[in-house]
Amino acid sequence: MRLPTSRAVKSTALTAAVALAFALSVAPILHLMATVVYRGATVVVRNFPSILFDIPAAPGDHQVGGIGPHILGTALLTSIAFAIGVPISLLAAVFTAEAIRRWERMVGRWTRLLVHMMLEFPTIVIGLAVYGVMASITPFVRAFVPGFRPFSLLSGVVALVLVAAPYMYLQIEDGLKSVPQHVREAIYSLGASRFVASLVLLRYLKSTVYAALSIALARMVSETAALFFTAFGSNVYPPLDTDSLFRPVGSLTLAVYTFGLSGYENWIELSWAASFMLLLLCLTLFGLTKLLLRGERRGLRGLR
C-alpha cells in the first residue's frame, strides 16, 4: 500500500475545506427555506383552498381564516407596478444608452446619477416620500376625485415602481452599453432608424432584459417597508368600483409582518402561510427566468 503524498493530502484537505465552507454558507438559506416550507405548507394544506380566498379569522379563534385580501393586493400591486415600471425603465435605458446629441448625453448622465442615488435610498424612505406627496396633493385632487386617498393601491404602485425601476434601468442600460460597437454600426448601416435599431439591440440582449425584469418583479413581490404608508394594508376585500385604485390594499409581506408580531397562534399561522406563498412566488419567478434564459441561450447559439 502506498501512502498518499503530501500534495494529495493537501488537495483533499482543501477540497474538504471548500466543501465545508460551501455547506456553511448554504445551510442558513436552506434552513430558512425548509422552515418556511414546513411551517407554512402545513397551514396552507390544512386550510386549502379557503386560505386563498377567506379573510383572516378573529385572533385567538380556532380557525385561521385566510389571506385572500393580501394575495389579491400583492397580485394587483405587482402587476400594475410591473406594467408601468417596465416600459419606463426600458425606454429610459434605451434613451440614455443610445444618446447621440449633446443634450441627450447630458440628460443621460443626470438620469444615471439620479438612479444611482435612488438605489441607495432605504425603501421606507421612498414609501414615506410617496405618502408625503400623496397626502399633500389630496385636498386638490379630491375636488375632482372625491374618493382619493393617500393610502391607496395607487400610492403602493408608485412606491413599487420607484423601488424596482432603477434596478431594471441600470441592468438594461449596462447591457446595452456592453453591446460591441460593430454590432451597432452593422444595424445602422442597414438603414435602420434609431427606434428600429433600439428594438434590434433589445432583442440581441433578450436574456439580460429577462433577468432584469424578473429580478425587479421579485423585488416588487417581496417589498415591505415601502408599502407601510402607501398600500397601507387591508384585512378585508375593498369594494370593486371606480374608486378601487384609491383605496388601501393588503400585501403578503405586510401580512407576514403584522400577523407575525401578534401574540395569537392562529394569526402567527397565517403569517407562516403568507411567507410560504411569498417563497413559492419568488421561487416560481426564479425558475421561470432560468428556463427562459436557457431557451434563449440555445437560440443565440444558432444566431452566432
Binding site: A135, V196, V236
Partner: protein, 385 residues
C-alpha cells in the same frame, strides 16, 4: 425612419385618447354617489372607511370588523391597520384616515393643530383597558402567594430607591404567610423600549401617586428609566418583549396590557387602590374604576390627553383597580355624509353589540354601562350635523 416614428406617435396618441375616454366615463359613473346614499332602498353601493392607530386594540378591532361586516352584510367595509397610536393620530390629522385610534387620546400638540385648523371632530372611548404589573418570583409561585404592591412602592422601584425584594416597604404590604418568602435578591425592572400607550398609562399612574416621579420623570409614550442606570433594568420591545423578559428573568418585574398578562398566564400583582384595598385587574375592578369617570367625561371635542390621569386612575371605591384607560377613537364631523353615516353605524355597533362577550377577544373588557351611554350620546353628533 419617418413612417415608423409616425406609427409610434399615432399609437401613443390613440392609447392616451382611449385611456382618457375610459377615465371620463368612470368619472361620470362615480359622479353621483350622494344620490345613491339618499335612497338607501337601492343603496347597494358599499361604503368604505379607513382607520388606523393603536396596536393594542388591533386584535379586538379586527374581530369587531369581521363580526360587524358579517352581521350587516358588508354594507360598510372597514379597514383598520395597527400603525401605532402616534402614527394613527398624525395620519388622521393629515387627512389620510377616516378615523384614528390612540391608547390615550389626541396629544397636546395634535389638539392644538386641530384647534388651529378649525376642523370639527369628536372622540369616543371604545373598550376598557388596564395595565397589569407582572412579576417573576419563584418563591411566591411555589407557595401560591400573590404579590401585593402599592403605587408608591412601584414608583420607588422604577426610580431605583428600592433595590431588593426584601425591602421592608415591600415586605409590610404582603400577607402574613408570604412575608418570609421574599428573597434577598435585587429587583430587575423591565419596561417598554418602544413608544407605547401602555408606558403612557403606566407613567401617568406613577406621576399621580409619586411626587418624586412626577418631578423627575413625568409621563409619555417613552420616558427615561432611572433604574436602567443602576444596571437593574432593561427595555423590551412591545408587550410580547416585556412579557418574555419577565418570564425568562427570575426576580424581575414589568408592566403589560392586562390582556397580554392573561393570555400568557403571567403572575399579576394586586395593587393597593386609593381606599387601601389590594385589587387585581379584571372586569369588575376595571369597570368599577371607569364607571366613576363617566359623569366627569369631558365633552367630545375637548382635550382628552390627560383624561386617564385626571379622571380614570386611582379612583375611590373598594373594588377600583388604579391603572385603567380607554383606547379612544377620533372622527371628523365635516366629512361627506356617506362617510360619517358609515362611521356612526360602525362605532355604534362597537359600543352596543360589540361590547358583548361573544364579540370581545379574550382579555379585552367591555366599557361600563355608564361610560358607554355617554359615548353613545357623543356619537349622535355624527348624524345630527
Amino acid at each position: 425612419m419617418k413612417t415608423s416614428t409616425m406609427r409610434v406617435i399615432v399609437a401613443v396618441v390613440l392609447v392616451v385618447v382611449a385611456l382618457g375616454a375610459v377615465w371620463i366615463l368612470l368619472q361620470e359613473r362615480s359622479g353621483a354617489p350622494a344620490a345613491v346614499t339618499e335612497t338607501p332602498a337601492t343603496g347597494t353601493r358599499q361604503v368604505y372607511v379607513v382607520g388606523g392607530g393603536a396596536t393594542f386594540i388591533n386584535p379586538q378591532m379586527q374581530k369587531w370588523i369581521r363580526d360587524y361586516m358579517e352581521e350587516t352584510g358588508g354594507r360598510v367595509v372597514v379597514n383598520y391597520q395597527s400603525i401605532g397610536s402616534g402614527a394613527g393620530e398624525a395620519k388622521w390629522l393629515e387627512g389620510a384616515l377616516d378615523f384614528g385610534v390612540s391608547d390615550i387620546a389626541i396629544s397636546k400638540a395634535g389638539y392644538e393643530k386641530l384647534l388651529a385648523s378649525g376642523k370639527k371632530f369628536i372622540q369616543v372611548p371604545l373598550v376598557a383597558g388596564s395595565v397589569a404589573i407582572v412579576y417573576n418570583l419563584p418563591e411566591f409561585a411555589e407557595a401560591g402567594c400573590v404579590l401585593r404592591l402599592s403605587g408608591e412602592v412601584v414608583a420607588d422601584t422604577y426610580l431605583g430607591n428600592i433595590i431588593k425584594w426584601s425591602d421592608p416597604r415591600i415586605v409590610e404590604l404582603q400577607e402574613e404567610r408570604c412575608r418570609g418568602r421574599l428573597p434577598d435578591k435585587e429587583i430587575f425592572g423591565v419596561h417598554r423600549s418602544d413608544g407605547s400607550g401602555t408606558t403612557a398609562l403606566f407613567t401617568m399612574y406613577l406621576t399621580l401617586v409619586s411626587r418624586e416621579w412626577a418631578e423627575k420623570i413625568g409621563y409619555g409614550y417613552t420616558v427615561t428609566w432611572p433604574r436602567d442606570a443602576l444596571g437593574l433594568g432593561e427595555g423590551g420591545r412591545g408587550n410580547e418583549g416585556v412579557s418574555a423578559k419577565v418570564q425568562n428573568t427570575p426576580y424581575s418585574i414589568g408592566y403589560v396590557e392586562t390582556a397580554y398578562a392573561i393570555q400568557l398566564k403571567l403572575p399579576v400583582a394586586a395593587l393597593r387602590n386609593r381606599d387601601g384595598y389590594f385589587v387585581l385587574p379584571n372586569e369588575t375592578t376595571v369597570s368599577e374604576a371607569l364607571k366613576r369617570a363617566a359623569l366627569e367625561l369631558p365633552g367630545p371635542h375637548e382635550f382628552w390627553g390627560d383624561l386617564p390621569l385626571r379622571h380614570y386612575m386611582n379612583r375611590e371605591g373598594r373594588l377600583s383597580y388604579p391603572i385603567v384607560g380607554t383606547p379612544v377613537a377620533f372622527v371628523y364631523l365635516d366629512v361627506p355624509a356617506e362617510t360619517s353615516r358609515a362611521l356612526y353605524d360602525f362605532l355604534k355597533w362597537v359600543l352596543t353589540k360589540g361590547q358583548m362577550r361573544e364579540h370581545l377577544v379574550e382579555g379585552f373588557l367591555p366599557l361600563p354601562e355608564e361610560l358607554r351611554a355617554r359615548a353613545l350620546q357623543y356619537l349622535e353628533s355624527l348624524v345630527r350635523t
